[in-house]
């Protein structure tokens, strides 16, 4: 008995091995290497990489250093985006999934595909499409606005419009993913619960709040977490649509990290900034996780 269990354990370990190997090579090793780089004065073109310990991190917190501005201004802008985009990504994704579910079965497939297609397009295409739509002087939206007597909106050259545009483009681009996840979760909700609810005379809203939402809670957490992480990694949309403008008000953290790392070749500084960013993301994810779990326990 013991022997077979040992054997089966060994077997299952073997199954994990290929993944573990790839995981180590492509994730663990780069992270460790990143931490190592972040503790050096690492100029890509300088063969001497001086070990400086935590100096790069201290520079980020030293308000006299240019790294301080680079990091915290970028972080502020990224936060702004996350705060507005995540609730929308979750709410709109769920809304679309509910709409899809309410459709006759024959139409579901068509609409699901239609909403999902943008997700498969690359960010440069997304940016070009929306640049044309949002163009202040020759874009689609402003042309129509002016036709019905409104004045042109500076979609990409003024705040908060620049953020509005970036969020709209992001929603259009990525909402399909969240929608598909929610659609599957909604299908999992047992019909019996709905039947019981309708017998008790619950209206649509009550059914949604008391049956649908609690059942899809794990999915909700998953979507919120992945959306938050994805939103933190915002880069392509502002880089291509606003170039960080007006001024530097849509210059997000990842743009600054790429600039410091690859244009200025200061890999040590860039690695320190990335590790800081990763830590912030981990903390936020943990908090989100905790909050949802505590609520669950409180309900019990």
């Amino acid at each position: 008995m013991q022997r077979t269990s040992w054997k089966s354990k060994a077997t299952s370990s073997l199954f994990v091995l290929p993944y573990l190997l790839l995981f180590t090579v492509f994730l663990i090793a780069p992270i460790v290497y990143g931490v190592w780089i972040s503790m050096h004065e690492w100029d890509l073109l300088n063969p001497v990489k001086e070990f400086v310990g935590l100096k790069n991190y201290l520079n980020i917190f030293d308000s006299d250093s240019y790294l301080h501005n680079l990091f915290f201004e970028g972080l502020k802008n990224t936060f702004l985006f996350v705060i507005f985009s995540v609730p929308l990504l979750v709410a709109v994704g769920l809304g679309l999934a509910l709409l899809l579910n309410a459709l006759p079965k024959k139409l579901t497939g068509i609409f699901r595909t239609a909403y999902f297609i943008p997700y498969s397009v690359s960010v440069s295409i997304v940016a070009i499409i929306w640049l044309w739509i949002f163009d202040t002087n020759s874009g689609l939206i402003n042309q129509y606005l002016q036709k019905v007597g409104f004045s042109a909106i500076p979609w990409l050259t003024d705040t908060p419009w620049a953020w509005v545009s970036i969020i709209i483009a992001t929603l259009w681009w990525t909402i399909g993913f969240n929608m598909v996840i929610f659609t599957n979760a909604l299908n999992e909700v047992s019909e019996e619960l709905y039947e019981a609810g309708s017998l008790d005379g619950a209206n649509r809203w009550q059914t949604f709040i008391h049956i649908t939402l609690p059942t899809i809670k794990p999915t909700m957490l998953f979507v919120t977490l992945t959306s938050t992480i994805a939103s933190f990694n915002i880069y392509g949309q502002p880089y291509l649509m606003t170039r960080g403008g007006p001024g530097t008000s849509t210059q997000v953290l990842l743009m600054n990290i790429v600039e410091e790392g690859f244009n200025q070749r200061q890999l040590g500084n860039a690695a320190a900034m990335s590790i800081m960013m990763a830590l912030i993301m981990i903390i936020i994810s943990l908090v989100q996780f905790r909050l949802t779990r505590e609520k669950k326990e409180a309900m019990k």
Binding site: P18, L45, D135, T157
Partner: protein, 423 residues
């Protein structure tokens, strides 16, 4: 059954390891260190656009013209070019034997002793400074040593819509040459009822070319005694001139976003625009009836134009004599045979082409590019100009969007640039 599973798992693992090993194998195969075959040279370029096939033709023509050496050209997309170059330089492996480098990047690599001083080797191969535009050759000279052989200079140009010129009663063959004419033309060409503008002012790229052009024409210098001098009177005048075009002269709409001026030009609603020679093929494809001219003197002091350039450089690690001979032979060939390069709209810096070649002289845009060589000016010579100039572009953007007074914007840009220089 269980055994099969184990074997499967082992095979999957082996496969994974194998594919990793395969990766590293191919890496080794593509290594072209100094010790490879001296008659074969690897040549890196960032020409991933329409200019790629042109350079490819030049290389192929060279390979056909003789049988001793062989040049192998590789294209690394522009957006990844310097990252790839840096990685090659830092690892000192997989490095090319010859590569294209922009003029504004050169200082950085020269200061770190990464590119070769070619003063002697090129002279022995018969490549002479007199054979090139003085401006272009000088861009590759640092402290009396020659680090680069120029391929071209690409300055800012004036593009204008001939149909709109005709409709406004202007001679379509005559472009404005100074500030007064430019303003008068722009006003005549503006017709708000049709949504048509004389000169649409971009607020982002290509201001990295436009603003320095007017700044240099005003006699400004970005760095004075090693310190940024963005907010000099020359700078404030240049930026005020540009913002006035939008808010005072009203020959441009406000809030132009990235590529907004290009879109309007393509739609026939922007009569004039400044851009680089690389735009030629796009205008041709769009079928616009356009004219091209040297930039007018919009500044107050002198004629000048901001430019960048493509140069050939050799990594300092290349020491094999045979290889250097092959490189020099190829460079000598390009000096006389870059007419092909001109077809993408550029003007080669070699006098054999831009001064003596009849076919070149009969082209439309290219001779105008060459005419700008004499007064073209490049970015200041400091290693991290890209970083030091970033605040300037962000503040110019704010001023052109009407969010900041030009003086205030330049003061702020100066302060930030100072902080970066003193880090």
């Amino acid at each position: 059954m269980k055994k099969k599973k184990i074997i499967g798992a082992i095979m999957a693992t082996a496969l994974a390891i194998g594919s990793l090993a395969a990766c590293s194998n191919t890496d080794k195969a593509s290594t072209s260190g100094d010790d490879g075959n001296g008659k074969k040279i690897t040549f890196w370029t960032p020409f991933s656009g329409a200019d790629g096939p042109r350079m490819k033709n030049i290389v192929e023509n060279y390979n056909k013209s003789q049988s001793e050496y062989e040049v192998n050209m590789q294209i690394v997309p522009q957006s990844d070019y310097y990252k790839t170059v840096d990685v090659a330089f830092s690892g000192q492996k997989n490095a090319p034997d010859l590569l294209i480098m922009h003029t504004d990047q050169l200082t950085n690599y020269v200061e770190k002793n990464l590119v070769k001083d070619v003063s002697e080797t090129v002279a022995s191969a018969g490549i002479k400074p007199e054979g090139y535009s003085e401006t272009a050759w000088g861009a590759g000279t640092v402290d009396g040593k020659q680090y680069a052989i120029p391929l071209d200079i690409h300055p800012l140009l004036l593009y204008y819509n001939k149909d709109l010129f005709k409709a406004a009663g202007l001679d379509p063959e005559k472009a404005p040459v100074n500030r007064e004419e430019f303003l008068a033309f722009a006003k005549k060409l503006t017709d708000k009822s049709k949504g048509q503008y004389g000169y649409v002012v971009p607020t982002l790229w290509p201001n990295q070319f436009i603003y320095p052009t007017i700044f240099y024409q005003n006699g400004g210098e970005f760095l004075k005694d090693g310190k940024p001098d963005y907010n000099s009177p020359a700078g404030v005048e240049a930026l005020t001139f540009l913002t006035d075009l939008i808010h005072k002269q009203k020959v441009s709409p406000a809030n132009v976003q990235q590529d907004g001026e290009v879109n309007l030009f393509l739609q026939g609603k922007n009569a004039m625009q400044f851009n680089g020679p690389w735009m030629m093929e796009q205008w041709d494809k769009a079928g616009i009836n356009y004219g091209v001219a040297e930039v007018p003197q919009l500044g107050t002091k002198q004629q000048a134009v901001y430019a960048n350039g493509h140069n050939f450089v050799i990594p300092a690690t290349v020491k094999n004599k045979e290889k250097l001979a092959a490189i020099n032979d190829f460079l000598k060939f390009t000096a006389d045979n870059t007419l092909e390069w001109a077809k993408s709209g550029q003007a080669p810096a070699s006098k054999a082409i831009y001064e003596q070649n009849e076919e070149f002289k009969s082209m439309v845009q290219q001779p105008k590019v060459a005419a700008s060589f004499e007064y073209a000016k490049f970015a200041p010579r400091i290693a991290n100009w890209g970083q030091v100039s970033d605040p300037l572009w962000a503040e110019v953007n704010l001023a052109l969007l009407g969010k900041k007074d030009p003086k205030q914007a330049l003061d702020d840009a100066n302060k930030k640039a100072d902080q970066i220089l003193n880090k």
